[in-house]
Assembly symmetry: D2
């Protein structure tokens, strides 16, 4: 049975002066596989990833590991524990409003000088040295004056240090009420088929502060920069945001299925050897990020969501009824909302009460089979 | 077709000085039936009652009405619109924490002098005069100096004025994640069988600030006071809190079924005449309020709720699994929670993340068939 | 120099399973003085008490102590760390809305049987045994099934265990924007003159869930119960809520002055011996709790508070201007608010933005010199 | 006396379906002066701007107006009325966390084609046509499908329509606890001396979503684009964010002084003619935006802020004491925080309770006399 080790990493301090820590679990492989980093629950309400890490730990103990694997549940000790009514208000820093998953650091500025220095180095050296450079640059930020780093940045940088040590990064999230979907960098499209996830968002090389981007953007830019120098270097790291379903829910059975899905991908990448985990046969649909439609409530009201998540909507189909009882007599109290194009319903808002302009749904449009 | 009229009642002002209003819909009957008052959404996240009022209005237009019926959706214009993340944080005043449904006024102090004055009056006069006295006393509070009434009290008193004009009061609520259940005063037990609701909580004559209590407690006390004087006066008003299911959800089909349930009761009370609405055949279970068990989380953690709502639990059955991933190695990461007595699971907390002591479930214990 | 000892007491667990603890500091006296318990920051934003405890610890190390003294800063580890925007939202449980200082337990039910058992016992035995009974009864509640105690109750009961071990209890709070004032049980009026606090609220023997009440009510009831049996037993415990000024502020100089104020009282009670701490000469004003006027905003708007806190208002004086810019042309945009009776302004709301019915001010009315 | 007109503009709808409106006040000048737009309270807690608009309206009625002037108090009807405890939680959308003042639209993309079309047009035509183009482009966004605009964007675009009609834009804000300061685009430095504001932040031509930037960036870029074509076109619009002091406060006297400050600037710009309003003599200090130091709390704790706002700090001066009472015995309980460079303290956090990484202060560094 593989040994799991545990370490607590301090990522901040709360107002009473006590430390904020995150638990880090590690398994060691034989060193031949890609290093793996998996974290969960950066957004407070998105708890199911912790259950997936639980099921992964239960499985990984009994597998043949080629890779070192690091797993971090409860990645955000503030977001995890921030309640507002029954709800876990952990999507953004309650003080500033900043999304906890928009505070990672972009190390794109390292790319050009690195390519200049390692222009003709062998691939393994590039991989090793650039990874080390990313870790080092992140650590340097953390070692800067304490007054220069805000709360969320300090948490993010600590996690980023762990993530940059890996070749494969999986950041486990959920939507509000959501079907399973995967954020996948365009270059890693082929890998998407090894997850048991029917919906795949293909994202370009733009940094917007999230962990997956912080992890793959520099490597993607590195590949591009080598190309400009006439050398073909593949993108050496893969990073995904895995959207497991709905927030505020723990489902251990579903978590086991999702663990199997991740293990299928990890087996494909030969992080786990001789494993029984194979991808399920399913039609996988993909959508380019720019075609991922945010559909905002066209009016304020009380919403009945009628589009089944994961379902394929035809143009003209009803996606919601909006009830407005303030003016039952003078206005139409019930409004039928239709979509004007074909789409797959991926997620919807968690509450029936919406202001005009609340994000009601997100849809795959112009989707295609992967 | 019966005519519906609409009036907006001002119940306060917000910080920019604009009025807070509630919409009041009225239908008139032939005057022979008991007057009916129905409100919804006093707690902001409990929106389904608005859909039930919508379906009631759609039905009531086509019925033969003996009764005047007043319906108030969106009863709480602050709670309705108070968002915190995706969640509607409308259970309590966000400034003070006071539960919006604990601010009604107890008029028990009117009882003794009323009985002295109307000791030998005919029942109809008692009914008419005591109802008028309750309305009047509520209005007097509202007419007091503006500085003497806090925000929630002003909303509550305005609603209470409307409610005291009725002989039947239905306050539509929901639980967090919940099966349908009914708060029913003990004396009105027989009426509970006319609602299509399988779970009935029988509550004593204790005032704790809620609308149903504010409406029935004085009449119950009046009946008791007459009894002490040797006269048998029934409790002349019935008031219920109807728990429709889960919060943050609009389901128009379910709302229609619930409207039918309320119309069945109203038909029985001859508020609606010659109607097709009859109570469904079902086993109805009742539980005394003191046996309604609040089960608090025995530890902090991430909860998988395993007891189906409405299901009958046997002592020793598992009701939840609690996952704690901070100390996967040094402690048991997964805890199985069992209940030590037979019970019906009525509702559970809306989130998987709980502190030690968060209300996890509520159970009927010592329940019996009605 | 007196030795301070430190212990952490666990009072709960948060959602990630980590313990919630409070720090407990203790100094030992020679055993001849009344035992003292001082806590601070039960409400999250009311932080100044922590600074007072800091200054007390700095002083107490150098005093001659007759008493054992227990000091608890950060009494509420949830409230302390609950942020909402810049504000510390720690007045009530963010999940339920329940005021953290309304969850202590009333042990009034112990009184009658105690008096029956110890009717003729000497005073020292009564004191010792009743104190032990209170601690024991509190501990029994804590030792009950984990599922029976909610989050706030568990914190409160843990603190109450410490408090019932003492003969003098000081619960350090602040108002929103506030002058210094003292909640003093009526029987302890004479003691109020030993604090350097100009405003004293005299409160009756009614339990409403606060720590001071939980501590003195049973002893007051005990005294009353003995009186009914014809025996004169004084109230043997004193408990106060000390309102230090405004929330969200740390002022170390002011904290030192407040520490001196508390030490003056403790010297008078001979907890601290041969001390230099004497009460300041000042006129102290008292007000009965029923005359403590909550003045709610008579309209929604933006408030300029014009009554200086601690100032003596004459009937007709302006206490606030309320600006309403929504209808500058059609209504009066600026309203002058006057008070219709003489009063002392004690505290006002922390924000200029108020709904109609927000508590604007609290005033001493019918006040008198102590 | 100049006539004021009033219009309500709908900027959204809340969950109960009622409209969200903002009040718009207008005065007409003789048409010879620059058009002026002034708004306040985009952030909910920053209410003092409403009082400044009140005092401006009182003054402007009696002035000789060359300019049309539009004034909008309560610019954000959601933020204004969002309470969380006593605090007005109106800095960001409570659902998404997005800062309300980061949702304006950048029209930089209009610049190049405009310059191509109006390369040799006279200055007045450029001014008129580009202003019209900005209004038009904003309106086109608003006229897009309702589902394409989120809540904050809709509010922002409505305000932006009004602002693009003006040549001078003043957005009235406050800091948390703050001294007065002015955000001034670098090109308008000369104008900064006409406000009675001692601290001026000079900001570059970078768009970050705020109203002032949305208003001046396109004009600045236009000027740059003409320069590239060899034509010298000045920046024809001035836009400032005016930071009036501290949030959650109404001070009518101070508001009058600030109105006078704005009128001094407007008189200088000949929007108001023959007026008595002249800038005060004072030393004005400026700081480049990149030198505006955010100083984050180096540790969690309870903060005593000791740097007076507006004061000139020397390197090594104490700016705060941080109290940490959890480990009074084992750690240093009181930490003195010093700044390692000369600076002017401009604002600090509104609460004493801070996490590690909470923004404690903002400082002007490398400041200079204007």
């Amino acid at each position: 049975m593989n040994k799991i080790t545990h370490e607590d990493i301090q990522v901040g301090e709360i107002a009473n002066g006590l430390p904020l820590t995150i638990p880090v679990y590690r398994l060691k492989g034989d060193g031949t596989g890609p290093r793996v980093y998996i974290q969960a629950n950066m957004h407070g309400a998105e708890v199911q990833g912790n259950a997936v890490i639980y099921q992964l730990l239960e499985q990984l103990q009994h597998q043949t590991l080629a890779s070192d694997i690091t797993l971090v549940p409860y990645a955000n000790p503030i977001g995890c524990n921030q309640k507002s009514g029954e709800f876990t208000l952990g999507r953004f820093d309650p003080i500033t409003g900043t999304n906890w998953n928009r505070m990672y650091h972009s190390h794109l500025s390292l790319v050009d000088s690195f390519v200049a220095e390692y222009l003709d180095s062998p691939l393994t050296e590039i991989k090793e040295q650039f990874s080390a450079a990313l870790v080092q640059a992140t650590q340097t930020l953390l070692d800067g004056p304490a007054y220069s780093i805000n709360t969320g940045k300090r948490i993010a940088l600590n996690l980023q240090c762990l993530a940059h040590e890996a070749d494969i990064v999986l950041d486990l999230h959920t939507g509000p009420i959501s079907s399973k979907h995967l954020y996948c960098p365009e270059y890693a499209k082929a890998s998407a088929c090894y997850f048991n996830i029917p919906h795949v968002l293909l994202i370009p090389n733009d940094f917007d502060g999230a962990l997956d981007e912080a992890c793959f953007c520099p490597w993607w830019a590195l590949s591009d920069a080598y190309k400009k120098q006439g050398r073909d270097v593949p993108v050496l790291v893969e990073a995904f945001t895995v959207e497991l379903g709905s927030q505020e829910k723990i489902d251990l059975t579903e978590a086991k299925a999702d663990a199997v899905s991740l293990l299928s991908y990890l087996s494909h990448k030969e992080a786990v050897l001789d494993s029984p985990f194979k991808p399920q046969k399913m039609t996988r649909y993909a959508c380019m990020l720019q075609d991922y439609l945010a559909y905002y409530a066209p009016m304020g009201g009380m919403v009945e969501y009628t589009a089944a998540l994961g379902s394929h909507i035809k143009a003209g189909d009803t996606i919601a009824n909006i009830l407005r009882m303030e003016r039952y007599l003078s206005e139409q109290p019930l409004h039928t909302i239709t979509l004007d194009q074909d789409a797959i319903a991926i997620l919807h808002f968690a509450s029936a009460s919406v202001n005009q302009g609340t994000e009601l749904y997100k849809f795959f449009t112009n989707y295609f089979e992967l």
